[in-house]
Symmetry: C2
Subunit: 148 residues, 2 copies
DNA sequence: TTTGCTGCAAATAGTTTGCAGAGAC
DNA sequence: GTCTCTGCAAACTATTTGCAGCAAA
């Protein structure tokens, strides 16, 4: 994983190369996605930016997140309840472990994964382009607070 | 995997045990989900049932699919584009391989999976309840038709 | 007869779109 | 000065809900 500052620089550079305008709103959205340690939702990005840009619009957040997704610089995590959160640090597919109580997301190391992709390609004849591998459960903290 | 007729019988038995009414609509929805070889969407179930029940309502399909999900008799497959499809044959989590061109869904055998769950539980301290493991790619047929 | 289910219509939530003015280059 | 982007409001889509009548048990 690239360091967050680098990820931000990479994204800005892509905007430049594609002759897209570097508006303050766009840069701020990119910065949140690249630097955030968590996995913010569109709503969270919007709330955070309203402090700086009083006229910030949800539509602008949606448009720019879509743009970054299309560049492959943001990974969309879609949850069973239909909500989406975004990862700008590791924009490539990787497994997640998600707490269904508190919403925490952990990224486990799971080296066996690459082999599985090949295995599946071989077995099914598909050309595999991407995947999604998420575990749902209860994190250690929530397990403990249940016991109270 | 139980044979489809058995799956249907199991579901009907659950309705009975829970003192839920065996309405013709409910039974028809359960039957489609249990017997269908594909992975129908709510819309598809609805379209199919309109032929038999001219007054069939989408709300009824949604309500009964929800019911079956809550019993663990139907697995929801949610796609990146936000659409949902349902599997009543194998209602437990299992991997899918999905063609992004034609929408075909294949269920590969993937025995390594159980070990991975334990591995992840150990590494993260989570109590893992369920998971989702989907591959996206292009099926053999669509690969060939591209070449034309 | 009782209770829960269905069908309809309205409500809801998340996301997208059209358009006019603002701002990046 | 040009052309894209933003902000706003309206549109849209998938799903859920309230309610009155209907049907299963």
């Amino acid at each position: 994983m690239a360091n967050p500052q680098d990820r931000y620089a990479i994204i800005v550079e892509k905007f430049r190369k594609k002759s897209l305008k570097l508006t303050p709103q766009r840069l701020a959205i990119a910065k949140i996605l690249a630097l955030s340690k968590g996995h913010p939702s569109v709503e969270e990005i919007f709330e955070q930016l309203k402090k700086t840009f009083s006229t910030m619009s949800l539509a602008t957040v949606y448009r720019n997140v879509l743009l970054l997704k299309s560049f492959g610089d943001v990974l969309e995590l879609s949850f069973p309840d239909g909500s989406n959160r975004y990862d700008g640090n590791r924009p490539y597919p990787h497994p997640h472990v998600i707490c269904i109580k508190c919403g925490a997301i952990v990224d486990p190391a799971l080296d066996a994964l690459k082999d599985l992709t090949h295995l599946v390609a071989k077995e099914t004849g598909f050309q595999i382009l991407t995947h999604r591998f998420d575990f749902f459960g209860i994190c250690r903290r929530c397990q403990n607070s249940d016991k109270k």
